[in-house]
Amino acid sequence: MNDVAAYALRLGDDALVLAQRLGEWSARAPDLEEDLALTNIALDLLGQARALLTRAGELESAGRDEDDLAFLRGDREFCNALIVEQPNGDFARTIARQLLFSTYQLALYDRLCDSADEVLSGVAAKAVKEVAYHRDHAREWTLRLGDGTQESHRRMQDGIDWMWPLAGELFECDELNERLVRRGIAVDARALRPAWEHVVTDVLEEATLAVPETDWAPSGGRYGRHGEALGHMLAVMQSTHRAHPGATW
């Protein structure tokens, strides 16, 4: 697979896997309003994933479309970051993931608008508005849970502590990323970290939450090395397509 296709697949897999995770909240969220909020966000991400996987399929020139890539790959072929595949946990943990990931994704898409690849820049330009809302949603909930009751504070801190070490992988810049940065196609992931830390730290402090201190930095998702949970998630996500190949609405 060529560089640009692999890069589009990374971004697309991040969006697809997180969309599926958020979709798992459907009919299980704390209330009707939040049910719709989380599934709206999931649909935004799914839309981004469709465009990115389609682009990856075109550039790969192996005849795979978005459905083939989404439903007919095994977990070792997915190149999403580890943070998006984490099981939802409780509502606070899901919000913690939303805060850390959407802050990263907003900074990424903001810069990707200038990509030399027309499809990547087009997807980014449309998605920036969507993700700005995702981050706003996560921020509002982080403030309320962190600076809420003793119980909500404890759960929000647990969520942040769980997700924080996994965020580091988002800012890794490997050789593929470097080659594409030189061609003006990709965003240098390392460059996103300072602004990300600034935004996230501000929110955590306002929410009376502690910024975790840890050296643990799990990684490997970009190369298909995932946790056990991703396989279970994909089994659910892919079962209908695999049971009924080629089915359409």
């Binding site: 209330d31 009707l32 309003e33 939040e34 719709l36 909020a37 709206n40 949603h137 509002e140 309320r144």
Partner: protein, 91 residues
């Protein structure tokens, strides 16, 4: 802690806000965001108001006759004696 809020949406510039329903939210900022997610996801609006349901004073069904019936036999108040010009869809 989850109060009831009434939601008003303006479909586009030039129209007034219409009541579309209600929702629960812990405070005004969250009510506005919930309203966006629940009531404008199919491009229904360009502006949203949320109002605490407790802030609304409503007419009572018991007062219905005294409130509304006296207007029933006064057709001269209705704007039905004019021709609406073409090209004025929202009069």
């Amino acid at each position: 802690m989850n109060d009831l809020w009434e939601v008003f949406v303006r479909a586009r510039r030039g129209l007034s806000h219409q009541h579309v329903g209600s929702l629960h939210a812990p405070d005004a900022r969250m009510a506005l965001r919930n309203a966006r997610d629940v009531y404008t996801r199919r491009q229904e609006g360009v502006s949203v108001w949320v109002v605490p349901a407790s802030a609304i004073t409503a007419s009572s069904p018991d007062e219905k006759d005294a409130f509304f019936d006296p207007a029933g036999d006064k057709p001269y108040r209705h704007p039905t004696f004019y021709d609406v010009p073409d090209g004025v869809p929202h009069l």
